[in-house]
């Protein structure tokens, strides 16, 4: 791809990046950061390409190190984000399953599951 097209794509991506997160609530700052963190783990694609072209052992070794690091970023990032968000979902299940009235007091919404 030529330089001008790359520049165009980059500038458009900057604005899309600004736009998609502009209205995020502070509750979601941490999962969003973690999710974005996972996305840049896509450097794995670059690491695979470099490792696939490596002809000398030391180059292959460095490239494979990059593959390991990038995989850790990508896989770990998505897994830890999913765990965080799972807890948000669990909370909603409790709220919708246990409390028919919105804003119901605490003892009604979880009392059945936690007899203590």
């Amino acid at each position: 791809m030529d330089g001008m097209s790359l520049l165009t794509v980059t500038v458009l991506a900057v604005f899309v990046g600004f736009e998609v997160v502009s209205k995020v609530s502070s509750t979601l700052h941490t999962p969003l950061m973690s999710g974005a963190n996972a996305i840049h783990g896509i450097i794995l694609v670059g690491a695979i390409i470099v490792a696939g072209q490596a002809a000398e052992p030391w180059i292959l070794a460095v490239a494979l190190l990059a593959v390991v690091l990038a995989t850790a970023n990508l896989v770990g990032g998505f897994v830890v984000t999913d765990r965080m968000l799972h807890m948000f979902r669990a909370r909603k299940d409790v709220a919708s399953g246990g409390a028919p009235v919105q804003g119901a007091p605490l003892n009604q919404s979880t009392g059945k599951e936690d007899p203590k």
Partner: protein, 457 residues
């Protein structure tokens, strides 16, 4: 094996890029967040499959082995980590991503003579190395492998300036000569710059720095995409860089701080430098039974959870205490400061883990006017987020940060480990006010004792 047609390759990469955009948008709203993350993971999987199908690759068994190793290390850690330690894990993952980008750029150096591609290479090397070392120091601070206080030494600005100048000079030389040895030197300078950048940052500001370094890694990945001529890397990296910068500013705003102030504050001596000194001034300390009486005969109680609660793994006990009080007909809410815990939104995650229902978690703007109706504000392991110094003392490092107005409540009870100041290292005047009493001890133990005493009432 026949390789995928270039048009199909481009289309699949484009699809992956769209999935990443949808992922970020999904993550911005509580309703769609989990699906958003899964869409992102699917996009990543699609991209990785595409590269295997399309690029001319040797060493495939080795590559698959390396992916297996990376997965085998990261997935169990990510699955098992305590939610309290999650900020440092995110920092760690961010750092290794930056490191991977730098290594990719280093290896591509010998493949090009184009000066513009070399510019992208030196950018990736430098920013990736800064992100790697910076995240490493952040990890060490959060894991308390080193002091959480700002590390400053005389001449730090001079050293930093010298490192940066040397880095710019070396970068220029790499662009002109393409020398791998100089490229390695540039990486080392980047590592030094990353460490020096984060060392002076005070503990309370560390989350913002994680977010900033996250954006840095995104930019490094985008630049590596230019190096490899891979549009997906350019788009994904730029997305993260742009959304990461917005997020960093939003986080800083939630704490009433500016990003520049955090990064360069310590150089001017204005960061969250604090003392570890333990004050000798008298406070009213109290027993679990006294606290139980105050709580048990109140009508309205607001619990203010902080990092101390999370460290002690006391969120479940806090949830039980809330249930016990509600069983006595007392109205109980949790007041969540936007930066309670160690990252914005961290406390919401922790309390959700303990099954505290969504309706009981009140955000700062919603609850602040209600403190004056509350009989008791129970502050569990929080300090800086309720420190009136943020409003009253303009010289204070947290001045300007919005706080929870617990001082408006009729009684304030602090559950604290000791009189040591909070993460930001500043004294809390509220501790010495007449309506305040303190119960010393580990947050979970104290809560359990109070819970027992409430049940015995």
């Amino acid at each position: 094996m026949t390789r995928l047609d270039p048009v199909w390759t481009s289309l699949l990469y484009l699809a992956a890029a769209v999935f990443f955009i949808l992922a970020l948008r999904g993550l911005s709203s509580p309703r769609t967040a989990r699906r958003g993350n899964l869409i992102g993971a699917f996009g990543a999987l699609l991209a990785v499959v595409t590269v295997f199908l399309s690029a001319r690759l040797d060493n495939i068994p080795w590559i698959i082995g390396a992916i297996a190793v990376g997965t085998a290390v990261a997935a169990p850690v990510a699955r098992r980590v305590q939610m309290t330690q999650m900020p440092q894990l995110v920092a760690l993952f961010n750092g290794v991503g930056g490191g991977a980008a730098a290594l990719v750029a280093l290896l591509e150096l010998s493949h090009t003579a184009d000066p513009w591609v070399r510019v992208a290479i030196v950018f990736t090397l430098l920013v990736g190395a800064v992100s790697f070392a910076g995240s490493g120091v952040t990890f060490a601070k959060l894991q308390e492998l080193m002091t959480t206080r700002p590390v400053v030494f005389p001449g730090l600005p001079v050293v930093m300036a010298a490192v940066l100048l040397a880095a710019v000079g070396t970068a220029g030389a790499v662009v002109l000569t393409g020398s791998p040895a100089l490229a390695v030197l540039l990486m080392v300078l980047g590592l030094a710059a990353g460490a020096l950048l984060v060392l002076p940052v005070g503990g309370a500001d560390v989350p913002i720095v994680i977010s900033l370094l996250n954006a840095f890694t995104g930019l490094a990945v985008a630049a590596s995409g230019v190096v490899l001529g891979n549009v997906l890397l350019v788009v994904a990296g730029t997305l993260v860089g742009a959304s990461g910068s917005i997020l960093t500013r939003a986080m800083a705003a939630a704490m009433g701080r500016s990003v520049a102030g955090i990064l360069f504050g310590a150089f001017k001596g204005g960061s969250t430098a604090g003392s570890t000194a333990v004050s000798e001034r008298p406070v009213r300390s109290s027993s679990a039974e006294d606290v139980a009486v105050l709580l048990g005969y109140a009508q309205r109680v607001i619990i203010v959870p902080g990092y101390g609660l999370a460290v002690a793994q006391g969120q479940h006990t806090a949830a039980e205490l809330a249930l016990a009080l509600e069983a006595r007909g007392i109205e109980v809410d949790f007041a969540i400061h936007p930066v309670a815990g160690r990252m914005p939104g961290h406390m919401n995650v922790l309390l959700a883990e303990a099954n505290v229902p969504y309706e009981s978690l009140k955000e700062m703007g919603e609850i602040n006017s209600e403190f004056r109706m509350a009989d008791v504000a129970l502050v569990v392991g929080a300090n800086d987020v309720v420190n009136p110094a943020a409003k009253t003392s303009s010289g204070s490092p947290i001045y300007g940060m919005p706080i929870l107005e617990v001082a408006d409540a009729r009684q304030v009870i602090f559950l604290k480990r000791s009189m040591r100041p909070g993460f930001a290292g500043i004294e809390n005047e509220l501790l010495y006010e007449p309506q305040t009493s303190l119960l010393f001890g580990d947050a979970k133990d104290s809560l359990a004792k109070v819970l027992g005493a409430v049940k015995a009432l």
